[in-house]
Symmetry: C2
């Protein structure tokens, strides 16, 4: 009896390159028979360890300008909507907490895609609770009820622990991919390599 | 009459991901009929603008550990020799100055490949003039004569100006690729995208 190959997908809603990764990992993994475990986490505590208080894309303007241009090319090639958001990075803690619940209940992938599209395709601010609520409602759920559970102490703790796990795994950015044997891959452009690794025996 | 498509390849000898890029760009560009202009430059002045005095791979240990592992996987897949060098980053100013001359004279690609292999495949220190001299000699040239010209004021100035040009182009890391219409791509993993862009009309 062989186990299904698996891959952990670590993403942060404020991470620009996590957008194309989140929108393509599902189909690519399914084609290869790989199970994806979606692991939302927060980059803030990771960056804080480096002494950063914002995204490196804001700290280094040349790098930031390049990133937005590069992301627009990638979205174009994937035919994904793209528009540079008015504020960056946005506060993603509520969206990440909701995502934990959504993945438990089987609507996590749709929720994640909708959050990324809103932020990087529709110039919305996902840091505003109303934006998150509208996404939840559009997926046919009771936004108030879901958001109450998302903001429970137990769920807050769960997100903190997941972020601590990311740091323990050596994760320093998003998107990151970790195979069952602990191999780490970083960046949307490493998704295919991570999937190939997950299939190795 | 149509002009041959062209791509500028900006590389720094201390840049780890420039190693696989330098070793594969020649064949990939030739297959597509694209002329490559090899542009050695120095990352030191670029990093200095960010307030960095060393490589970010040294400043952020998790990122550094990941980079060496990732580079070893890439070299493995390309069947390139790989061994983490005893010191990093190395002093690359002499090698970059020699490269300017070598590309003028048609042996730049061989020189560049040999410098990268020595540094990242054979644990040599390319900051030592004797390492550079041995590479020049192995390519059938008079090392003393070449190195004298490399260290001339005119050639030193040329490298400084080339580095300033990189900064003006918005380059913030290596390898970088710039098409004739000014489109910038950063990273070994963007080489194919840059080549595709160079072919657009």
């Amino acid at each position: 009896m062989t186990q299904q190959p698996a891959l952990d997908f670590w993403f942060e809603f404020a991470s620009t390159y996590s957008y194309p990764a989140a929108l393509r990992i599902g189909a690519l993994a399914a084609q290869r028979g790989i199970a994806v475990r979606w692991r939302p986490f927060l980059l803030g505590p990771v960056f804080k360890q480096n002494g950063w208080t914002t995204s490196p894309f804001n700290m280094y303007p040349a790098k930031g300008r390049y990133m937005w241009r590069d992301l627009s090319r990638i979205c174009n090639a994937m035919e994904l909507p793209f528009a540079e958001p008015p504020s960056f990075p946005q506060n993603t803690i509520l969206a990440a907490r909701v995502a934990l619940i959504a993945f438990d209940e089987g609507w996590g992938e749709d929720f994640t895609a909708a959050v990324y599209r809103a932020q990087f395709g529709e110039r919305k601010n996902i840091g505003e609770p109303e934006t998150v609520a509208a996404i939840i409602r559009a997926l046919g759920r009771d936004a108030g009820e879901v958001m109450n559970r998302a903001q429970s102490d137990a769920n807050k703790l769960r997100l903190r622990e997941q972020t601590e796990e990311a740091i323990r795994l050596g994760i320093f950015g998003a998107p990151s991919f970790v195979t069952s044997d602990g191999e780490l891959f970083w960046g949307n452009d490493r998704l295919e390599s991570a999937l190939d690794w997950a299939l190795r025996r």
